[in-house]
C-alpha cells in the first residue's frame, strides 16, 4: 500500500517537474519582455514596467510591424492556396481512385523523404531565373503542394460516403459541385487540422526565407528575430519582446484549437 502511494507520488512529482520545465521558458520570455535588460540578467521573474520602453526600442531597431505583416500575409497565402490544391487532389485520389492514381500517390509520398537542404540550391536557382526573389510567390511555391496534405485529405475522403456522391449526381450536381458543396462542409475539421499545420510551418519557416527574402522590406519575423542577436550587445528585454510577438499568435491558435492541433500531429499515424 505504501509502495503504491509512493509510486503515485512519484508520478505526480515527475509530471509536475516536466510541466514546469515545459512552461517556464515561455513564462520567462513573456515576463522578460516587460523588464529592462538589467532586470532580465538579474534573474527577475515578475512582470515589470518596461514593456513600452522595450517596444519603442524594438521599433527603432527593426520594422516589426512590416515583418509581422509579411509573416501574416505569406502564411495566409501559403495556407489558403495549399489547402485548395491539396484538398482537391486528396479528394480526387480517393474518390476516383484506380491503379494509375494509386501508383502516382505512392510516388508522390516519396517526396516526403527529400530533405529540404538537398533541394534548396536548385530551388533558389529556379526562383532567381523566374525573377521572383523577395516575393510572396517565392515564399509559397515550394510548399504549395505537399504530399502530406494530399495524404491527409485522401485519408479523410475515405470516410465520405459513396451514397452521397451518387445522390448528388442524380440531382444533377457536377463533379466539382459535389466537391465544393458536399465534401468541403463535411470535412471542416480536416481543413482546420491541415490549416494549422500549414500555417505554423509557414509562420515558422526560416531557412527558405533566409535564402530568398533578402530585401529588408520583404523579411518575415524569424529573419528579423535572428538578426536582433547579431552584432550588437544583446538587449534581452527588447529581444524577448520580439520573440513574444512572434510566438503569441501561434500560442493563441494553439489554445483555441488544441484538439485539431493534436490531431494534426498524429494524422500521419492513422
Amino acid at each position: 500500500m505504501i509502495r503504491r502511494r509512493s509510486l503515485k507520488f512519484m508520478k505526480y512529482l515527475f509530471l509536475t517537474v516536466a510541466a514546469l520545465i515545459s512552461v517556464f521558458p515561455l513564462y520567462w520570455m513573456f515576463v522578460s519582455a516587460t523588464n529592462t535588460s538589467m532586470d532580465v540578467l538579474g534573474g527577475k521573474l515578475l512582470p515589470g514596467k518596461n514593456l513600452i520602453t522595450n517596444f519603442k526600442m524594438l521599433s527603432a531597431r527593426a520594422n516589426v510591424a512590416q515583418a509581422m505583416w509579411n509573416s501574416l500575409r505569406n502564411s495566409i497565402v501559403a495556407t489558403v492556396s495549399s489547402l485548395i490544391i491539396g484538398s482537391i487532389a486528396g479528394y480526387g485520389f480517393e474518390i476516383y481512385h484506380d491503379r494509375g492514381k494509386d501508383l502516382l500517390m505512392s510516388f508522390l509520398l516519396l517526396s516526403m523523404m527529400i530533405p529540404f537542404a538537398a533541394i534548396m540550391i536548385p530551388l533558389f536557382m529556379m526562383i532567381g531565373k523566374l525573377n521572383l526573389l523577395n516575393t510572396t510567390t517565392a515564399f509559397v511555391l515550394p510548399t504549395l503542394s505537399t504530399a502530406f496534405i494530399i495524404f491527409l485529405f485522401r485519408q479523410s475522403a475515405r470516410f465520405f460516403q459513396q451514397e452521397i456522391i451518387e445522390a448528388a449526381r442524380i440531382d444533377g450536381l457536377s463533379e466539382l459541385g459535389i466537391f465544393v458543396r458536399m465534401y468541403i462542409p463535411v470535412m471542416r475539421s480536416t481543413y482546420a487540422t491541415a490549416g494549422i499545420i500549414t500555417f505554423m510551418a509557414a509562420w515558422n519557416n526560416y531557412l527558405w526565407p533566409l535564402i530568398i527574402l533578402q530585401s529588408p522590406k520583404s523579411q518575415t519575423m524569424p529573419l528579423v528575430l535572428s538578426k536582433l542577436v547579431a552584432g550588437y550587445v544583446t538587449d534581452y528585454g527588447l529581444l524577448m519582446l520580439a520573440v513574444s510577438l512572434s510566438v503569441l499568435p501561434i500560442i493563441v491558435i494553439f489554445l483555441i484549437l488544441q484538439k485539431n492541433f493534436a490531431e494534426g500531429v498524429v494524422a500521419s499515424v492513422k
Binding site: 508520478k11 515545459s22 515561455l26 476516383y96 534581452y236 501561434i250 500531429v265
Partner: protein
Amino acid sequence: MSSIKLKTKQNLVGWTFVLPASLLICVFYFYPIGRAIYLSLQTGIGINMQFVGLMNYKRLFVDKLFKTSLTNVLTYLTFQVPLMLILALILAYILNDKNLKLRGFFRVALFLPCATSLVSYSLIFRSMFALDGFVNTVLIKLNLLNNPINWLGNPLTAKIVIVLALTWRWTGYNMIFYLAGLQNIDPSIFEAAVIDGANSITRFFKITLPMLKPIILLTAIISTNGTLQLFDETVNITSGGPANATVSISQYIYRLSFQYSPQFPYAAAMSVFVFLLVAVLALVQMRVGDQR
C-alpha cells in the same frame, strides 16, 4: 454504353483534380533533387560548367569541416533522440491513466513547447544560457557556482545546450503520438494483466512497449530525419560555434552556397549525401523494426 462514357468522364475529372498538385510536387521536389544530383557531378560557376564525375564526392572525404559537421549531427542524434523518445514514452504512459488528476492540464503544458517556432525557442535558450544569462545567475544565487559557466563558449556544454533545447521542443510532440497509440490499445488487455497480477512496470514492458512498436519506429524515423537536417537551432543558439563545435550539415551547406563565395556543385554533392543518409537510416530503422 452511356454508363461507360460516364465512367470515362468521371475518370477524366479525377485526373484533372489530382494533376495540378502532382505536377507541383514534381516541379518543386523531384526536379530539384534530380538537378542537385546533376549539379553535384559538375564544377564551375554559371554557364562555365564542366562535368567532373565523382570529384565533389571525393572532396567530401578530405573536408575537415564536413567531417566535423557530420560528427556533430550524429552526436546529437545518438544522445538526443533516445533521451527524448524515452521521456516522451514515460510521460505518455503516465498521462494515459484515466484516473489521473489534472490530466488535461498536464497534457497542454507538455505540448505547449510545440507551439513555439524554432527560431523563437532557440533565441530563448540562447538568452537563458548566455554567460550573463538566467541559468548562470540562478546557479550563482543558489551558491551552486562561484563563477559563471560559459555554456555556449565551450564545445561540450554548447552541445549539451543544443541537446537540451531540442529535447524541450520536441518531447511533447512525440508524446502526443504515443498517447494516440495508447488509446488504440484495447483496455481489456490491461485489465486482464492486472488480474494476472502484473504491476504497472511489468505492464509497461510487456504490453505497452510491444504494442507501440510501430509508432516508436515512426517517431524514431521522423526525429532522425529532423536531426540530420538540423539548421535553425545551431544557427540561432550557437551560430555553429565555438570554433564550429556545434555546426550542422545543413548549416555548412548554407554557408557554402550563400555565405562563402558560392560553390553550388560541391554544396549540392553534400546535400545529395544528406539525402542518401536520410534514406539509408530510415531503411535501417524499418529493417530493425521488422525483426523480432
